[in-house]
Amino acid sequence: MKFVDSKTPAVDLQVSIGSLTLKNPIMTASGTFGYAKEFEPYVNLHRLGAVVVKGISLLPRAGNPPPRIVETSCGMLNAIGLENVGVDRFISEKMDSLNGVNVPVVVNILGDTLEEYREISERLADVEGIAAIEVNISCPNVKKGGVAFGTVPEMAASVTKAVKESCSVPVIVKLSPNVTDISLIARGVEEAGADAVSLINTLIGMAIDHRSRRPKLANVIGGLSGPAIKPVALRMVFQVAQAVSIPVIGIGGIETAEDVLEFMLAGATAVQIGTANFVNPRASEEAVEGISRYVADQRLQSVRELIGGLILAD
């Protein structure tokens, strides 16, 4: 572990997500940063704005059979199938070490039914060290024929309400990009009480091995992430930031501080780095360093000046 880099200029990088204040806008994305501990050899975790842990369900899930991942052009597909230890073991086994790393922990949750979301939130409600809950609504609602919660404004709103009622930490709702009008969903969850929205989750995709004539993923379809999806993510963040007044957290193909800048200019208050952690485990910390330098070089009062700073007219 290296010492904190004392050369990093003292600049105001603070941003707020509901009642939660982050020391900088750089978070890590759920499912791409394990339970943070995996990255201790590479990253000074306490320098990050926050870490979001792998999605937690009510009961443990083994996940999908292999193969679960496949590379695509400038991206990857994953069909992990939400493998996780379940909320109880998460609390008993993972929270201790997470509390040790001195960085705000956001817990990503998922469920098959409204009740499951509610119950997970209740169990997490009083756990020490949870800074916020991020609600993954890209999961199929088993009671509604498997339509994803995140694709119908009313369903998205009701999950939001259920989680909000069950806990007192800020609730971030993570939106699915596989919809006709993401602003509509964003407004739905805002009205239902979400403290922030994060976007985008993965685009649904597929890959085929023409030699074996089979899908490359055992699950047939999977989630597309990485630089390939950045243009779509940036567009959706831009649209949603204009549609809601709660903070927007930008996700999708972010690799560098320049990418972070672009998402903030488009309207993001904070960002999450996902797939890039696999390519460069230091990506998140390097983004903090880069943004820090940028704010200092440009003599900004604070990083918040960048939010929505895109210049549109000539």
């Binding site: 996940g63 059979p65 292999p66 193969p67 400038c74 990485g226 485990p281």
Partner: protein, 261 residues
């Protein structure tokens, strides 16, 4: 933890055949702590295509801070890597995973097929360094003499005799490596350390099970992160559920895996 991300310089490139390359990298922090069976994740280029790092076994370390990988060109990543030049730098993560658990109390047999031979050189060296009563037996297989000879030479340099098998009979036994294995006197209590294509490992495991030999296998799966974060690299376990080949493995007790035999 001793994993690190290192900018390593390419010290030497040996083109063993038209599509098998050995890279020697200067990476003191990785070389000094690596153990046999561990691997590294290498960025094969600077652009986003291919995006992900590629996993390679550490095939040898040296006391002057170098380590080697041995790879075959099978796709775009390995093709890019094969076009590197001496003096260039590569970004390497490692050493990763948990390697072979050397049981010094038992006679050792190293069994490698194709590029699966890579980690066994490191293992053979370490076993000899640890001091053993009995020199390990080595059984290696490949497609033909051209591929196998340079790899055999490495073991010969260690003073180890290699029992060879090739698909075309151009070197050693004409046929399967398991035939050779069966013909050898491995002694009771033998521990086999295996790496190679899945069907070969399955055959070796079946043989070991029948003889009550120990059997450690190094498995290959697709990997995105190499460090336990993406949960992509699973192998089905006998007890149910999955192991993660990058962190629980890549070396597993063959007993613990669910084999499709």
């Amino acid at each position: 933890m001793s994993q690190i991300q290192e900018k390593t310089q390419i010290i030497r490139i040996d083109r063993l055949t038209s599509d098998i390359v050995r890279l020697t990298l200067d990476a003191p922090n990785i070389a000094s702590v690596a153990s046999p069976g561990q691997f590294v994740m290498i960025r094969t280029g600077e652009t986003n295509d291919p995006l992900l790092r590629r996993p390679f076994s550490i095939s040898q370390t040296s006391s002057d801070g170098h380590f080697q990988i041995l790879f075959k060109v099978v796709g775009r990543g390995t093709d890019l890597l094969s076009h590197c030049r001496e003096g260039e730098c590569l970004s390497v993560l490692g050493p990763l995973g948990s390697g072979y658990r050397i049981d010094t109390s038992r006679p050792a047999c190293l069994v490698g097929g194709g590029m699966g031979i890579a980690p066994l050189l490191f293992l053979g060296k370490r076993i000899l360094q640890n001091g053993v009563d009995q020199r390990p037996l080595v059984v290696l297989g490949a497609r033909n003499r051209e591929e196998l000879q340079p790899l055999i030479d490495d073991f010969a340099d260690l003073g180890l005799k290699v029992h060879a098998a090739t698909d075309d009979g151009s070197l050693g036994h004409h046929g399967l490596l398991t035939d050779v294995l069966k013909s050898l006197d491995l002694g009771p209590e033998c521990m086999t350390y295996v790496c190679g294509p899945k069907p070969m490992m399955a055959a070796v495991y079946l043989f070991c099970r029948s003889k009550k030999y120990g059997c450690q296998v190094s498995v290959e799966t697709a990997m995105a992160c190499g460090m336990g974060a993406c949960l992509g690299c699973i192998v089905p376990l006998k007890k149910g559920g999955y192991g993660h080949s990058c962190s629980d493995g890549p070396v597993f007790d063959a007993e613990d895996l669910l084999w499709q035999l």
